[in-house]
Amino acid sequence: MKTLKNMSKTSKTNFATYGMVIVVFAVLQLLGSDLIQRGGVLSPTLKGQLVPICAYVVMALSLNLTVGVLGELSLGHAGFMSVGAFSGTVAATALQNVIPSPGARLLAAVVIGAVFATVAGILIGIPVLRLGGDYLAIVTLAFGQIIKSLIENLYVGMDVNGLHFDFLENKIALAQGGKMIVNGPMGIPSIQKLSSFTAGFLLIMAALFVIFNLTNSRSGRAIMALRDNRIAAESVGINVTKYKLMAFVTSAALAGAAGTLFALGQNTLVASKFDFNTSILVLVFVVLGGLGRMWGSIIAAAALTILPEALRQFADYRMLTYAIMLILVMLCTNNPTLKSFFSSLAAKVKGSAKKGKAKGGEGK
């Protein structure tokens, strides 16, 4: 109890975030398990959404590292997700006979997806991170488009001789019994589902672990120093490129892992799934959840992935409603007049609730 009191506010928030994820996972597992046979507690649609939700949560956490912690706007984050999705799926298919256990194969695929995304992150980050602000945003957007175009023209086949790659045109001649894994614009025609809700949960926990421990260390402080004031950071001897790259590449690696998780939960996959709109979608999660606020990203990503499903009753009006809600939320949380109105309202509610409690806490 004493240690809990001595903990800084940040560590408390971090532990609360871990706790929130664990509790939600446990509750959903319980609701979905055979223990409760009533059915309908967890609708099949929601059950099917669990893996994508986990993937988007990790995406939001990872982008929050770039946008919230590093303070640079990236509009091409789906590109890293795409790299992870395709490399991870190819790896999972190729390793089918090498690693028979699905769990271990998923782990290997996720790691490979993350590694490929890391390489992409380094290749993109080194030239790009010299730019700042809106210029960085447009260049990341451009890279997102380039990655999409490249993967759309990628052909990968596998036969007894191993993997075969081709670009632009499919000239792969496969031996007997071989099959195409990635088929250019047609993408991946069939995927063996390896991802599970538990795997998604573990990946979220791993992402939180990396992000929290990174931000509360020497490197993380350097990254946040760059965000708050680059010139001052340089003046105290912080290497700008190194720490920008560190945050950006870590973020790319997490996005790659999320991509693999996502892909291995789908039946088929096309590169156009990870386009500009996906990048924007994830950015919306991050901004709505709050910059640098990881629990906010988790809630926003989960809620906004379910929301379009929940709005299904509005049928045709669903995306329109979504757009209007997005605008209204931004106006309510950022307009000074509306914001002060809401915070005074919140203070009133809080104040009346805390009235009795305040006297007890005085003796500190």
Binding site: R218, S219, M224, A232, V236, I238, V240, G292
Partner: protein
């Protein structure tokens, strides 16, 4: 104060001394020496022929009317701008081609005229960021919380608290830097600069916006910092009571040129300075 983290010994080269007050310098090598330093912006010469040297434990002042180029000199020393002409020797080592980061690691730390704190971070974190190069463990040690992390973070915490105690700011350690009152923000900037273990501290208008009693306290503290850390201080200031009160050597800049150098008494009586700078006060 606990033992300061030692910097690698720098190369000592005997140079002709152009110290502001040569006789004060016991140690023959000045910590900083500028020779014919100058910078042009487009066609405009902002600073020209800037020659000066500062002794290892000297408190020196850089004064001059607004727009004289004082902050530009700071930016040249910290390599925010690369000089067009001339050389800067820090402890006898040429800083030519070095970056801001490298110059800081060589021993120059600074504060800013318009406060530049890491305002979303806590006071303690601001100081710990200053300690960035004094502690060293890598990213993975941090992420996986290896023993090095705990050991070095403990050192960083203790050192940060110790540094904050210079200005009696330990109680504010958990406050957000951006939420501090103005004076405290200025002091925190000095603490952060000190955390980088400098041998030369550049203060850009440290007393700006302070009332007379705060300024007096600041003067004591600057002297205290020099004495405890054994470092040189170069400060830009408009408050003449501060400059005349603690600076051992003063350099006056006008239109990017040095018009006078000397002790406070010499400066006060220099006809050039009176004409260009203090002269406006003569009638009033």
């Amino acid at each position: 104060m606990s033992e300061r983290v030692k910097r690698e010994p720098t190369r000592l080269v005997p140079v002709p001394s152009t110290n502001i007050i040569p006789e004060r310098d016991v140690d023959k090598t000045p910590i900083l020496e500028c020779r014919h330093l100058g910078i042009d912006f487009g066609g405009l010469t902002a600073v020209n022929n800037f020659d000066m040297a500062i002794g290892r434990t000297e408190i020196a002042g850089l004064i001059g009317p607004n727009g004289a180029g004082k902050t530009t000199v700071f930016n040249l020393l910290t390599k925010v701008y690369q000089p067009t002409r001339g050389t800067i020797l820090l402890d006898g080592v040429d800083t030519h081609g070095k970056t801001t980061v490298q110059v800081n690691r060589m021993g120059i730390a600074r504060t800013f005229q318009n406060i530049r704190l890491f305002s979303n971070l806590s006071v303690e974190d601001n100081v710990k960021i200053g300690l960035h190069n004094q502690i060293n463990y890598g990213m993975w040690q941090g992420v996986f919380r290896m023993p090095g992390y705990w050991k070095q973070e403990k050192i960083a915490h203790e050192r940060a608290m110790e540094l904050l105690s210079i200005f009696d700011m330990e109680a504010m350690a958990d406050a957000k830097a951006g939420s501090l009152p103005y004076g405290a923000q200025r002091r925190l900037e000095i603490v952060r600069a000190l955390a980088t273990n400098p041998s030369l501290l550049l203060l850009d208008e440290p007393a700006a916006g302070m009332n007379p009693s705060e300024t007096a306290e600041l003067m004591d503290n600057i002297v205290k910092i020099r004495d405890t850390f054994g470092i040189a201080v170069l400060l830009i200031e408009h408050d003449m009571s501060l400059v005349m009160g603690i600076c051992e050597g003063i350099c006056v800049l006008n239109f990017g040129q040095i018009i006078a150098k000397g002790t406070p008494d010499e400066i006060k009586n220099d006809p050039e300075v009176i004409k260009a700078y203090l002269g406006s006060r003569k009638e009033g």
